[in-house]
């Protein structure tokens, strides 16, 4: 071996946390299929979240090579990006539902990264189709309620402002939704939709997380349930990270957010997403990306835990 050979060090194609790159036939129960969403076209605001998955793959590599304690689970598989049709919302909704259905049919859990929250109801819809007998509840961590009236679903099937209400419709109504970390100021009509739901503001959560999961379960008539966890990076307080929502004021710190997610790991989480991160706004280079990687790591950890609080 020449001296030049010894210096050369090749890295493989970046994947989330260096996980094996696989396909649907590699999935099975106990596996977590991590996938990217290259789509932020249907929410009407600043674009950029579509690039999050690519950035997060690269951002998770230095953590591995520098030996930080991220201990990637050996149960995750990077299945690449889900197919989307950026200018055809109906087709995008349909194909996302189908892909989610096929992944969940294998028994694996799906973790979708990047993109925009408007896509998530389609993924949950596919999950419910694959597991028709499961009693699925939604835990949404975001500063926004996103429970506006659903208007013109044929023309606009993917719509961020009513995505949480769509999820409620799929899962049995507003009572099936727990919203955590919401902004101190929320639209009256949107809030009224959630009047029977479990809702906590960022300020309320930042004081204590003790007993949170028990409180979420107490509000449910049947404790034999499973959960879908949806995390929006907009819940973080400025100026740590800027996501696709402007936010000034109270929010969660990255540490508070990861603690919250790990606390929720006591519940059986069978699907999750992390959306709303725009790498272009990470002007420091990669600090925000690395922070989001840490948040995703806590989501994977929460998904990998046994749901100790449910029968």
């Amino acid at each position: 071996m020449s001296s030049v050979d010894s210096i050369l060090s090749m890295q493989s194609v970046p994947s989330f946390f260096g996980a094996p790159i696989g396909d649907i036939e590699d999935l099975s129960e106990e596996k977590i299929a991590v996938t990217g969403l290259f789509c932020d076209h249907f929410s009407g605001g600043e674009p950029g979240a579509r690039y999050a998955a690519r950035q997060l793959r690269y951002a998770s590599l230095p953590l591995l090579t520098h030996g930080q304690n991220i201990s990637p689970s050996n149960n995750i598989i990077d299945v690449g990006e889900l197919n989307v049709f950026p200018i055809e919302p109906m087709k995008t909704q349909s194909i996302l539902k189908e892909q989610s259905f096929r992944i969940h049919q294998t028994g694996a859990k799906l973790l979708a990264l990047g993109g925009d929250y408007s896509l998530i109801p389609a993924l949950v819809s596919g999950q419910l189709k694959a597991r028709p007998n499961s009693d699925l509840k939604i835990i949404r961590i975001s500063r926004n309620l996103d429970t506006a009236e659903i208007s013109n679903p044929q023309k606009k099937p993917l719509n961020r402002s009513c995505a949480t209400r769509q999820l409620g419709d799929y899962c049995g109504g507003a009572k099936s939704i727990a919203l955590l970390g919401v902004s101190d100021s929320s639209s009256l009509e949107e809030y009224e939709y959630l009047v029977d739901s479990f809702v906590r503001s960022a300020q309320q959560l930042s004081s204590s997380l003790a007993g949170l999961t028990e409180q979420i379960l107490d509000g449910l008539p049947d404790k034999n349930v499973s959960f879908y966890l949806s995390v929006d990076i907009d819940v973080l307080a400025m100026p740590s990270i800027r996501s696709n929502s402007p936010y000034l004021g109270t929010g969660l710190t990255p540490k508070q957010l990861t603690s919250l997610i790990l606390e929720l790991g006591k519940l059986p989480i069978i699907g999750a997403d992390v959306t709303g991160y725009i790498p272009d706004l990470d002007i420091s280079g990669s600090a925000a990306s690395v922070t989001v990687v840490e948040i995703i790591r806590s989501v994977i950890e929460a998904m990998s835990q046994e749901g100790v609080l449910c029968r």
């Binding site: 009407g44 929320s186 009256l188 009509e189 809030y191 000034l248 004021g249």
Partner: protein, 321 residues
């Protein structure tokens, strides 16, 4: 930028959704917004010419929760308060002054005339900048129209900047107050960094007061609020100036100058929302917003929040459910 402002988000939003009208349509009690897209000159960093547009857009984003609500009402989960945006408020956005890319004597004259005309019609002039020097035009305009007013300046500096051959001017020089006056015509909040000794002396000479950023960091926002209360007792009419430079650069990089140790956006909005000055305002000037210097857009958003906070009851009302 928000993704939630219905589907009507546009790059050319008016301020808070106010209607675009002419100066002739200003009536008593109306809030009249106009912009002066003037850039700063060396040695200060340029970028303020985009300030008015960015503040308008950021204001729409800051009001997203209200505009997402059919009744323009929001609920606070933490306090239980319900607040409505007063759609019935007469708000007018005159647009931006044309052909004023830098502050010149001509620009200042235009601002002066516009301010005076709005004030003569009993409207509240709200000037969006633009370089901090625009304040001079507004004070002159108000002096020719209103009776005596106090000047509340929220800035890290005790002067307005030098531009295009116009020398820097101490804040105290903007007010025609006799040195023997017992009034309390000037209050500066958030001063930080090295300031010319002469400016301190001049402010003291006219019985003005300075609350530094350090005072606020060490003694809390209450210290600033007490000073505002004293100032408010002495002045029935107040011109409020919010200079983006008062914010710490770590929170808001989009300003012509740098400020290490400045106020946080939360401190600023907390102070302004608790100051209860809305009924005494005769004018508001927001200056030194340079959005291109802040890729994350925090500066204009912080200033939009600050401006909404100072207008308080003029724009919002608390309602019971």
């Amino acid at each position: 930028m928000s993704k939630n402002f219905g589907e009507s988000t546009t790059a050319s939003a008016t301020y808070a959704g106010f209607s675009e009208r002419n100066l002739e349509e200003v009536t008593q009690g109306s809030i009249v917004v106009f912009g002066a897209p003037t850039d700063s000159t060396l040695p200060r960093r340029s970028g303020c010419s985009n300030g008015p547009k960015a503040i308008r857009q950021a204001t729409m984003n800051a009001l997203t929760s209200y505009f997402n609500s059919p009744s323009k009402t929001v609920v606070s989960l933490d306090t239980g308060k319900t607040t409505r945006f007063k759609s019935e408020v007469i708000g007018i956005d005159l647009g931006d002054l044309a052909d004023c890319t830098e502050v010149t004597t001509e620009t200042l004259k235009q601002i002066e005339q516009l301010t005076a005309r709005v004030s003569d019609s009993k409207g509240l002039p709200v000037l969006l900048g633009g370089d901090g020097r625009i304040l001079e035009g507004m004070t002159t305009g108000l002096q020719s129209s209103s009776s005596e007013f106090g000047l509340l300046v929220i800035s890290n500096r005790l002067d307005i900047p030098r531009v295009n051959g116009l020398a820097s001017k101490a804040l105290s020089a903007l007010l025609p107050v006799s040195p023997n006056s017992e009034n309390y015509p000037l209050l500066v909040l958030g001063a930080n960094g090295i300031q010319p000794h002469e400016n301190w002396k001049e402010i003291k000479k006219i019985h003005g007061n300075v609350v530094s950023a350090e005072d606020i960091h060490e003694q809390g926002e209450e210290f600033a609020l007490n000073a505002i209360q004293q100032f408010s007792l002495k002045n029935n009419q107040i011109l409020c100036v919010i200079d983006a430079g008062v914010l710490d650069t770590g929170f808001a990089a989009g300003t012509p100058g740098l400020n290490v140790g400045g106020l946080t956006p939360l401190q600023l909005t907390e102070i302004l929302s608790k100051a209860n000055l809305a009924s005494k305002l005769v004018g508001i000037c927001v200056s030194n917003v340079a959005p291109l210097l802040d890729a994350r857009g925090h500066t204009q958003y912080a200033m939009a929040e600050a401006l909404l906070a100072i207008m308080g009851e003029r724009l919002f009302e608390e309602i019971s459910r």
